[in-house]
């Protein structure tokens, strides 16, 4: 084996070891991001569909934490990412529901104001 071949093998070996080591690390960042996403979604006080979505996110987060506790880091990372995107969806849904409710209320309020204005103008 020449020196160059040895270098190439060393590089491959280093990459392999690095990948293995990385895969064995706990998905701390993913879990933290998922927890943050769930907390942000909860702040929106979701109802209906968004509440169900948030519940799913919480379940996924719980599953991720359980897997993490079992040192199944890869599965834990997958579940954490799912929990994060699901929680972000729950937050978006809750914001959408709120915005829709706000628009409905303001539309009704404006209609009422316009009606009152019309009534007072006719007097």
């Amino acid at each position: 084996m020449t020196l160059s071949t040895l270098k190439i093998h060393t590089v491959f070996l280093f990459l392999l070891v690095s990948t293995t080591v990385w895969a064995l690390e706990p998905p701390t960042a993913e879990l933290s991001a998922a927890q943050t996403a769930v907390a942000l979604a909860e702040r929106q006080s979701p109802r209906g569909t968004s509440a169900q979505t948030l519940q799913a996110a919480k379940s996924q987060l719980a599953e991720a934490q359980a897997l993490n506790d079992k040192r199944k880091y890869r599965e834990a990372g997958v579940a954490a990412i799912r929990a994060q995107v699901t929680a972000e969806l729950a937050k978006a849904q809750a914001e959408l529901a709120k915005a829709r409710m706000e628009v409905d209320e303001k539309s009704a309020r404006n209609a009422d104001l316009r009606r009152q204005l019309l009534i007072n103008t006719e007097r």
């Binding site: 160059s4 978006a92 915005a99």
Partner: protein, 327 residues
């Protein structure tokens, strides 16, 4: 060298074979990727949503791209993430659209309130104008009424002045008439007095006793020689005179006071008694002449109230008298 080349080729082949499935999978048609891309494209083409939810849309596109290039073992995870990201992008865009609508509704509300304020201000201005006009009309009415009242007051004052003038003229005329009547009466009495004075004997039975006025009263004086000396008996001439006086006074209604007087000679008690008796005699004579007793009151005053000096005979003669005072 050949061995080195052969080793390198073998490694390259191994790598090529190792990545081949990935390349095949990437180029193979992926219905999930197409479906999600279709959704994102529709979102981009929606004129109401194309500019909204940019961050979420970017994340969704990245997720779809990762899905397209995902290995088979991580495809399920990538699909899940991409689907949720796309769904999130849709919700975020719609939420942003609704938020914009809410802002638009707020502006619309402000516009309505502005219109209401403008309308209220216009109504207030109209009311103010109306009140101002009413006030002007009221002021004009007040001025008109004031003028009418002033005219009425002036007319009333003029009328009052006229009435007062008329009353004054009437009063003046009455006073003038009274004065003329009094003048006539005085002339008549003067004539009577003149006729009495013209008589040589004041106790002549053909004439009334002499009379003069004391305030509002007429005083007839019967001289002392109308009685016998030291007596209360009237002489015939005095009786005749009193009879005529009674005839004159018969039509009157006033009280007639008969007061007897003496001079200062003799005792006071005797003078008082004599004057009383003489007054009584005159009273009886007047009653006999037809006067009511109720109108007659007699009193003796004695030497009081002398009308002349008792130092002379003439004075004492004048003090001896009976006065018949007719009110």
């Amino acid at each position: 060298m050949n061995r080195k080349m052969a080793g390198f080729l073998s490694i390259s082949l191994a790598l090529l074979l190792g990545f081949a499935p990935i390349s095949i999978a990437a180029t193979k048609a992926n219905p999930d990727v197409d479906r999600l891309n279709t959704i994102l494209t529709a979102l981009d083409n929606d004129p109401g949503l194309s500019e909204l939810g940019a961050v979420e849309r970017l994340k969704a596109r990245q997720a779809v791209t990762q899905l397209a290039s995902a290995k088979s073992k991580s495809r399920e995870q990538a699909l899940y993430v991409a689907a949720k990201r796309v769904e999130t992008a849709q919700a975020a865009a719609q939420a942003e659209l609704l938020a914009n609508q809410a802002l638009q509704l707020d502006r619309e509300r402000d516009q309505i309130m502005l219109q209401a304020s403008q309308r209220d201000a216009e109504m207030a201005r109209r009311e103010a104008d109306q009140l101002r006009l009413q006030n002007m009309a009221r002021q004009e009415e007040t001025e008109r009424l004031s003028l009418a009242v002033e005219e009425e007051r002036t007319a009333r004052e003029q009328s009052t002045a006229d009435a007062q003038l008329s009353n004054a003229q009437a009063a003046q005329a009455r006073k003038l008439a009274d004065a003329r009547a009094r003048e006539v009466e005085l002339a008549r009495k003067e004539a009577e007095l003149a006729s009495i004075l013209a008589s040589d004997n004041v106790s002549d039975g053909d004439a009334l006793p002499p009379m003069y006025r004391r305030g509002a009263s007429s005083v007839y004086t019967l001289a002392g020689n109308s009685f016998a000396s030291g007596s209360a008996t009237l002489t015939p001439a005095a009786l005749s005179s009193l009879n005529k006086l009674a005839a004159v006074l018969r039509n009157g209604q006033g009280i007639i006071r008969i007061e007897g007087f003496t001079d200062d000679r003799g005792a006071d008690a005797a003078n008082l008694a004599l004057s009383q008796r003489r007054a009584n005699s005159v009273l009886m004579a007047l009653r006999a002449g037809g006067l009511s007793a109720a109108r007659l009151k007699a009193s003796g005053k004695g030497k009081a109230q002398p009308v002349a000096d008792n130092g002379s005979e003439a004075g004492r003669a004048r003090n001896r008298r009976v006065e018949i005072i007719v009110n």
